[in-house]
């Protein structure tokens, strides 16, 4: 089976391609963007496309066979279980097949693609969380430093003070630290 993967995100495309490598026999082609000429040249049986690719609507328009489009496509909707179609939308992936292709084979491929899209989402959100955790840790460190200097106290005491402030106001410690730094700045003469 000839598969064309359209994904503007190269890292995600690589992840999907790696997942599909185990499926045999599969002739996999990858492109960040799609045009009619590519389709005619590659003649894929199946197209897996990211929902954030603007070329999706180009595929949608190829439902009718014309002189320029000898092989009409249809969107593949997995009806094997309720909720499967929604899951694909949530994962951000859509599949288009040449009319008449066996659904069972497509289903396996789409499942792999979906799980890889979800994995990428997970990795990205983990990364974002790690970055924001790191940033808040730095803020807390700086606020601690201010307290230590201004109040002439030790590190542990400064941290306990921040924690108490956070608990009293019911806010995250990083938020309290941010406020403390900005108020400190204002008192020192910074423009708010």
């Amino acid at each position: 089976m000839r598969l064309l993967l359209v994904d503007p995100d190269p890292a995600r495309a690589a992840l999907v391609a790696e997942g599909l490598a185990g499926i045999d026999p599969l002739d996999l082609h990858r492109t960040p963007s799609l045009n009619e000429a590519d389709l005619l040249r590659i003649m894929p049986d199946l197209v897996i496309i990211a929902c954030d690719s603007p070329d999706r609507d180009t595929l949608e328009s190829l439902r009718e066979a014309t002189q320029n489009n000898p092989r009409p496509v249809v969107m593949f909707v997995d009806r094997s279980e309720p909720g499967r179609a929604e899951e694909a939308v949530r994962a951000g992936v859509a599949a288009y097949i040449i009319d008449g292709l066996q659904p069972s084979r497509v289903r396996t491929i789409l499942e792999v693609a979906m799980s890889r899209f979800q994995l990428m989402q997970q990795l990205r959100s983990d990364l974002a969380k790690a970055q924001s955790d790191l940033a808040s840790r730095k803020t807390v460190e700086r606020a601690k430093g201010v307290l230590m200097k201004e109040r002439q106290i030790g590190e542990e005491e400064a941290y306990a003070m921040l924690r108490k402030l956070a608990m009293n106001t019911g806010r995250p410690i990083a938020a309290v630290a941010t406020d403390l730094l900005s108020f400190h700045g204002v008192l020192k003469g910074d423009k708010p």
Binding site: C51, D52, P54, D57, T58, E60, S61, R63, A85, A94
Partner: protein
Amino acid sequence: MTFSLDLGFVALTDAAPLIVAKERGLFAKEGVDVSLHREVSWATIRDKVAAGLFQGAHVLAPLAIAARLGVGSDPVNLIAPMSLNSHGAAIGVSAELAAEMDGDDAKSLVRAVAKRLGRGDPPVTFATVFPYSMHTYMLRYWIASAGLDPDRDIHIVTAPPTAVFERLKSGSIDGFCVGAPWGAVCEEQCGARIVLEAGEFWPGGPDKVLGISETWAAKEPEAMLAVLRGLLRAALWADAPEHAGELAGMLSATNYLAAPAELVAKRLVKDDKGLRFSRQAASFPWRSQAAWIFSQMLRWGQVDRGVDAKLALECYRPDLFHTAASDVGLSGPLADSKVEGEHEIAWALPGSRGPIPMSRDLFFDRTRFDPDSLKAYAAGFAITRLTE
């Protein structure tokens, strides 16, 4: 209680009611907390509403109807309780094609097509934004009006609004029909020539609607009406001439249209061709306009002749519009349907709170559309796939 919901949009000037309602706190004032999500594909907008990820979206009016009919996808329970705009779309051609056309009318296009054919060049290629869009119907109507068959004599491809400019620059298309501000962007940055604007093709004609999941609307009718009220107020604000500058600036932001403000402003002028959001009943979901859209689906063979027009008309929900409009104090048309293209000059429409000033609505070829005889209308064109 604040209700949270998600609405989708595509980077186009006619998403203004959603963006204004969000930015000016008009949704918040109605007690709804709306998150707006920019998408790059109409198919993805449709699928996200179908899957319940969005409760509603900025949608091409014909796509809302097609989705409801199950044309081009599994049937989606979409309703359109309000129109978002009239005008904004434009047909344009590349500088090269303009030189070969030697005029702005469709007859000039025939000469250019003939020249290319004579030289054995590839066919003239136009891009439109989606198979089910006013852009497709306007482009096909215009091409066919000169006796060209849009499926045989011309090549039509689909490209999202934001990609039309790139395709024109690379030379892979010779012309386009696209919504604002992208027509002006092609004109300004690529030397394209605008040959027909939606406001000339059909003054006061439909374009985008608010597409809402019917399932959600039935479950949360109050939240749905709150969204409608916020959007109706936003449309009124967006139409006020004194807000045009601020509106252009707001829309041009990178998280919305990411387009130059002065090019967005170009189609916000209050002349015959400028975008309308509220004035002249532009927010009203005219069933006669849904009927016209259905007539074009029949004309181009997108729907089977046996499909009941009633199913298409049911997508438009003037009843919901009236409920929200009366809360806002807006005058709503007393009729749900009208004969389209009948007025050569400005006229007054009877409304729930006094007459509504209306503009001329003559189609560019001076035909008239009576929704009660839509099949005869669709079959009556010289070039049509519908035979009586």
